[in-house]
């Protein structure tokens, strides 16, 4: 029998070896120490034909006293030092100058050259490309551009940091994503802590579905069910309970669960795309900040595809508390439905639907420069009938099908399906 604590812990120890591919929250790669020996092939100046980035290996722990280990460590260190000591240079062909325009808080690109501008910057009607402050600091940091003050003085790296800061941006950029400001964040709102409690009184009623309706009656047992409902099932539950009437036969578990359903619950499937006006969102305490895209060579910044993720940056200094339901609700309302990523909603397994939800949103919580990402999914348990979805229920049955014979077969039948769903639900074996 599966128990609560130990089994789950046991999975932990197996986790790094088992190929739990899509489980994002388990092993933090940034915790590993790095082996820099691979840098040798960049640092020696020689142009390797295929500089692939190597896979990271297992952790090496404390020194074990072998020459082998210390040699590996030394090689790694010297490779890193060699790589750092190489003079970095770029040709005049891709040398880009930026002038920092202080009043508008943007960098004006003198002549946009190079691959960065495929995904960064935004051109105005005159054809001048403007960089947002986080884009400026990122490019200056990596040596891609030179930034100048308006007075014609080159800007130092420190000066650049002082003018522009964008931790989340640089982090996501370095991780390889294409990052763009969301429309709601374009007009930069400096007054982030303006607490505008908009009148979000009661949640949209049509997205909550009331207690379940009686199940759709099947083809054949229609008559019998009608009669049954006529006799027993129409009256609402008595005010003092029990909800499941005493001295009454129930014919299947669907009837029982349908009757038990009393509490209205939210169902994202009922909300038809409510992405109407995104104009009122900048006043919201948690605006969407960035749209990010997975690395994509065909990306065009003039006509970007639907983004892969939406990110809201939340500095804990301004928002010490987690968002309330109405905050989350209005954030979700500004999002389009997640259609990207291939699979149709119906094609996903129940567990996937319950974990990911119709819409997703990544919160980047910044606490003193430390960034942690949390994904929120717009899910609705009320839309899923677990009692029907999985598991052998000898007496479950449901409305359809050919009567009550062969109960043993019924018991065996769904066993396979139970196993399958168990596997797809997170790969825990």
């Amino acid at each position: 029998m599966a128990d609560l604590e130990t089994d789950d812990l046991s999975q932990l120890s197996q986790q790094p070896h088992g190929g739990g591919g899509d489980d994002s929250g388990d092993v933090d790669l940034s915790d590993e120490t790095q082996d820099f020996r691979f840098l040798g092939m960049f640092a020696q100046g020689g142009r390797k034909t295929d500089p692939t980035i190597p896979k990271r290996g297992e952790k090496d722990f404390a020194p074990d006293g072998t020459h082998l280990q210390s040699r590996i460590l030394n090689d790694s260190r010297s490779a890193m030092h060699n790589a750092l000591s190489v003079q970095r240079q770029h040709t005049s062909r891709v040398n880009v100058h930026i002038t920092w325009r202080r009043e508008i808080g943007k960098g004006e690109v003198m002549a946009a050259k190079g691959t960065h501008f495929k995904t960064m910057g935004r051109a105005d009607k005159q054809g001048t490309v403007w960089l947002e402050r986080e884009e400026v600091v990122y490019l200056v940091e990596r040596g891609g551009v030179e930034c100048w003050w308006e007075e014609g003085v080159p800007m130092s790296l420190q000066g650049c940091y002082a003018e522009c800061l964008g931790g989340v941006y640089a982090y996501l950029k370095r991780a390889g994503y294409i990052v763009q400001r969301a429309d709601t964040f374009l007009a930069e709102t400096s007054n982030t802590d303006k607490t505008t409690t908009t009148a979000l009184t009661t949640p949209l009623p049509q997205t909550y579905h009331p207690p379940l309706h009686p199940p759709p009656l099947g083809l054949f047992p229609t008559l019998t069910h009608r009669l049954l409902y006529f006799f027993n099932f129409n009256p609402p539950p008595p005010s003092t309970g029990p909800v499941i009437s005493l001295r009454t036969p129930y014919r299947n578990y669907t009837q029982i669960y349908t009757r038990l359903s009393l509490i209205p619950s939210y169902n994202p499937s009922l909300s038809t795309s409510t992405t109407t006006n995104t104009t009122n969102t900048p006043t919201h305490p948690f605006p969407l900040t960035y749209r990010i895209y997975k690395p994509n060579p065909t990306f065009k910044k003039s006509s970007p595809p639907p983004p892969d993720f939406h990110v809201a940056v939340i500095p804990t200094a301004n928002h010490p508390h987690i968002p309330t339901l109405s905050d989350i609700e209005s954030l979700f309302n500004t999002l389009p439905e997640e259609s990207k990523g291939g699979k149709e909603w119906g094609a996903k397994s129940m567990m996937q639907r319950l974990k990911e939800g119709r819409k997703g949103l990544v919160l980047a919580v910044v606490d003193g420069g430390v960034i942690s990402f949390v994904r929120m999914g717009d899910v609705g348990f009320g839309g899923e009938r677990v009692w029907q979805a999985t598991g052998p229920r000898r007496k479950g049955g449901g409305g359809g099908g050919g009567g009550g014979g062969g109960q043993k077969q019924k018991g065996k039948g769904p066993k396979g399906s139970g196993k399958v769903s168990g596997k797809s639900g997170g790969g825990r074996g």
Partner: protein
């Protein structure tokens, strides 16, 4: 280092068939109507008869109803008779054994310890876990030994130490001090076991364990299913508590110190918890307390015998109704959320923030309409997951 070193896979104990034991997901039975056979018109009569005159054996609730006692001292509902315990655990996984981790197994374990039943007879969940732990410990010890051997071989090749060729005996002494007591106890256990089993005692063990229901479970079983009768344990004459009495009692006892009926609020801990409990139970989930995982509830698909809990639920009362505009919400900080989320992702559960919209208080005299009261709450879930840039880029 290879982790899949040759460790013979120990033969696992055969599990009982949980599909049969836990065939019902609630302590209610659903009896289908007799089948309609097209070429036999009499079968239609049979169906009609079964409608109009249902036999008592086809009623949903068990007969007699399960019984329990409410204990004010421990703030729990206790089930002592064996049939009720069996029924409530096997049909819906309600309650917890007072002397066990989850399923009431104290009797079996004690009987085995005293040698009344054999070493491998009807193993309980705790015992299976314990054995698995021992296996794992042995495996890790073996792996550590192999790694150590490899290290020594390298050191010997580099000429730093000289390897004892005859060295099995000294190696055992060298081993870490913390591994020796473990070996000692396992040896002890091996030597002790056969002695006890050889002299089986004649006396059997008396059951001292009872099943303990949480207040939400108890109320669901009485108000929701009508399968349980709860008796007031404080009075001498056994008085059955009505659903309205139970609701008030449980709401009062969800506060410490206990509150008077007049001081009850729509956001009582019991009301909020029960709304969430009933919501998930009515969708077919098996809901168990989640305090071990820093959350309010765990959701099992079909039950803990079949799968691990897939979801961990934290309950968040939400005050969106205008009535509460003056109300100061207790709001949690990011540290708390990250703690809970981190724990949940470490045990591979998806965290669900379950928002419960609290209605304004209603002045009602006399008995409350409980279904209507529950229907005035609204539930909305939001799933949470740690998101790592490196893992989502493809």
């Amino acid at each position: 280092m290879t982790t899949n070193t040759t460790c013979p896979k120990p033969s696992r104990q055969k599990k009982p068939n949980y599909n049969i034991i836990h065939a019902d997901s609630l302590p209610l039975q659903a009896v289908p109507l007799p089948p309609l056979i097209p070429h036999n018109p009499l079968s239609l009569l049979h169906i009609i008869y079964a409608y109009l005159f249902p036999s008592p054996s086809s009623y949903a609730q068990p007969s007699p109803l399960y019984t329990a006692t409410f204990s004010k001292a421990t703030c729990s509902v206790n089930v002592t008779d064996a049939v009720s315990i069996q029924g409530l655990w096997c049909r819906g996984f309600f309650g917890k054994g007072s002397l066990s981790r989850s399923e009431p197994t104290w009797l079996t374990r004690t009987r085995r310890r005293l040698g009344v039943i054999g070493k491998n007879e009807s193993l309980t969940a705790e015992e299976l876990t314990e054995r698995r732990r021992i296996e794992r410990r042995e495996f890790k010890k073996e792996r550590a030994r192999l790694e150590k051997e490899k290290l020594e071989r390298i050191l010997a090749e580099e000429g730093k130490i000289t390897l004892d060729i005859s060295g099995e005996a000294p190696k055992a002494d060298e081993e870490d001090s913390n591994s020796t007591p473990a070996r000692g106890t396992s040896q002890e256990a091996e030597t002790r076991q056969p002695i006890i089993t050889s002299q089986r005692p004649v006396v059997d063990v008396e059951e001292l364990e009872h099943l303990q229901l949480t207040l939400e479970e108890a109320f669901f079983l009485t108000f929701g299913l009508g399968a349980l009768v709860i008796i007031d344990g404080s009075s001498n004459h056994e008085k059955q508590l009505s659903n309205n009495e139970l609701l008030n009692l449980f709401r009062m006892y969800s506060y410490t110190p206990v509150r008077e009926v007049e001081a009850l609020r729509p956001d009582d801990p019991f009301m909020v918890n029960y709304v969430v409990y009933h919501h998930f139970r009515s969708l077919g989930w098996v809901v168990k307390p989640g305090v071990k995982f820093a959350v309010d509830y765990l959701l099992y698909n079909r039950g803990p015998a079949f799968t691990h809990a897939e979801f961990a639920v934290i309950i968040m009362p939400s005050y969106s109704h205008p009535y509460w505009s003056e109300h100061q919400e207790k709001r949690q900080g990011w540290h708390w959320l990250h703690c809970v989320n981190r724990v949940s992702s470490q045990v591979k559960k998806t965290l669900i923030m379950c928002f419960v919209d609290i209605p304004p208080p209603k002045a009602e005299k006399g008995d409350v309409n409980i279904p209507a009261l529950l229907g005035s709450y609204k539930v909305r879930e939001v799933s949470l997951r740690r998101w790592l840039p490196n893992r989502n880029r493809d």
